[in-house]
Amino acid sequence: MSIWISILEQGLIYGILALGVYITYKILDFPDLTVDGSFPLGAAVTATMIVKGVNPYLTIPVSFLVGALAGVCTGLIHVKCKVRDLLSGIIMMTALWTINLRLAGTANVPIFGEKSIFDNETMDGIFSGNFAQYKVLIIVFVIAVISKILLDLYMKTKSGFLLRAVGDNENLVTSLAKDQGNVKILGLAIANGLVALAGCIFCQEQRVFEISSGTGAIVIGLASVIIGTSLFRNLTFLKATTAVLIGSVIYKACVAAALKFCEPQDMKLITAVLFLIILIIGMERKKKVKKNA
């Protein structure tokens, strides 16, 4: 198996997470830390269902819904209890740690040998022989693209326009006689649903649920969104959602490059430097001009 397949697989799985972070961070302008909890939440739900022998394809919608529920909770804490955005995410993230632990029963649930969306008769039948090594990648790619297209389509609906409006100008939404609080809750629900969906796929690809898998998920998500949107800002034919998916793959490529070329201890620093280089390349020229003028 080529290392490229691994990068693309991981990149696309985290790309789905990045799509969720894109909604909260870029569209809603809401720094949502729930992600560190809702990512393993999706994984916990998936592992529990798979161990119980439920049809693995059911894990996809169920994870999305459970994640969305977590997002709704964050939204309610923020909108109804008037807690600051950052703090509502932190509260939810902390609560989800216990919920995940309780849901899964223990901190580490292996699902080797169980049926998953990647390992079942149908998929083994479709992907046989030489083709088998691309199985996971193709399935992940299909799910990521479907998520992206559905999100793009949603953004064009009335509700999608309202979502974008809330991030840009809350008053506009109020003047349209819409409750901006509800729109925010909806946005958080969709975002965390996508994040939990990424957790669901991640768990089945890794064949294990591990409670610590969510730690730092928000950082990867944010990095992917920023790499994607700033690197491809001039390519107008590329939709932001596509850019985010590519951004996530680039992030994983950075990690792979750091793993390849440096001592294990230096890995995080090299990843950080690569990340910085990409950001500088993608930086807008305008700011510099302003400074000189």
């Binding site: 985290y14 080797f112 991640f202 890794q206 390849k260 294990p264 390349i281 930086m283």
Partner: protein
């Protein structure tokens, strides 16, 4: 425009670099001898795990597989990130390593996950419960081409030791991280066996390093002594715990040699270097083709060793009789910093 060129350059560099890296499977093996490449994936930077790795390499060497001669070792560390662990072992698989070694449970699981369809054998170490981790079946036989060693604690011996050194103790405190499966299974065994020694186990669960200080204070108020597991979060904060325990004159028992060096009064525990050596020998058998990984049951360390720190015992006024000292594998008369 410059920016775009730079972007293109950077990505090209990365592409070339990685492709070149992939293609560079060892050209060595000039001597007629067989050349082996192995990948070691360690989950986190951690004293015990480092010892495992060192022991593993020593064990291979004792079996005639020496780095630089007929063995190429690629070592990577996942910095405690599960998805990085998978990327590491995926890269070993794509480089067509002859064997992958996973150190600690998540790294072992990731290694088996990457290698299961590529037919590359996996040897693990420092996995406390391979059955729970689904790396071994209930009878101890492997689930596939994967086997190794478990760092299961000698809990019975440890309880005996506590009884012997502290005849009046009633309550033994254990600090553990709720997210570490290994700790939870160890505590179950402790609670099962404690009654036989007239001891009661008091546990405090934490979820992160930041909770250690508070939890230790609380626990110290309730118990006569503490005993450590191999819990990563707790062991990494051992200095804090020892400090607080010493202030209250409460002895702390360790679970392996390094902890005793740091000031735990004694441990009936593991020597991770030995564990690693044992693992290395298993790996050598698989590499040489003497046995298949799927034919070997996982192993635990043959004999637990007793380690005593007389300085720490003296500070706490705990008597260490000569007989006990005689049984010890190693007695430390100093607390290392």
């Amino acid at each position: 425009m410059k920016r775009k060129i730079a972007a293109v350059l950077l990505s090209t560099m990365m592409v070339i670099g990685m492709t070149a890296g992939c293609g560079s499977k060892e050209e060595g093996g000039t001597s007629g001898e067989e050349q082996y490449t192995i990948g070691i994936s360690q989950f986190a930077e951690h004293g015990s795990l480092d010892n495992c790795r060192e022991g593993f390499i020593q064990g291979l060497k004792e079996e005639g597989l020496e780095e630089g001669k007929n063995l190429k070792i690629e070592y990577k560390n996942a910095a405690a990130d599960q998805s990085t662990a998978k990327q590491i072992t995926d890269s070993f698989v794509s480089n067509k390593a002859d064997l992958i070694c996973g150190i600690a449970t998540p790294a072992a699981q990731a290694a088996y996950n990457s290698a299961m369809n590529a037919g590359i054998p996996v040897i693990y170490t420092a996995v406390t419960d391979p059955k729970l981790a689904k790396l071994a079946k209930d009878d101890g036989t492997p689930v596939g081409e994967v086997t190794g060693t478990s760092d299961e604690l000698p809990i019975k011996e440890q309880l005996e030791l506590i009884r012997r050194m502290l005849p009046d103790a009633k309550k033994v405190g254990i600090l553990y991280t709720t997210s570490e499966v290994n700790s939870i299974s160890a505590i179950e065994t402790y609670e099962e066996l404690a009654g036989d020694y007239n001891l009661e186990i008091v546990t405090k669960g934490i979820s992160q390093t930041a909770d250690i200080s508070l939890a230790t204070d609380e626990l110290l108020g309730e118990v006569d002594c503490l005993t450590n597991l191999t819990d990563n979060t707790v062991v990494n904060s051992l200095a804090t715990i020892l400090n607080k325990a010493n202030e209250k004159k409460i002895p702390v028992f360790g679970s392996e040699i390094e902890q005793v060096k740091l000031g735990c009064i004694a441990a009936e525990g593991l020597d991770y270097i030995e564990l690693g050596k044992q693992t290395g020998k298993m790996a050598a058998q698989v590499l040489k083709g003497e046995k298949k990984a799927s034919e070997m049951k996982y192993e635990t360390i043959s004999e637990p060793g007793l380690y005593i720190n007389t300085k720490a015992a003296e500070n706490l006024g705990v008597a260490v009789d000569e007989a006990l000292k005689g049984e010890a594998v190693e007695v430390f008369a100093e607390i290392s910093k």
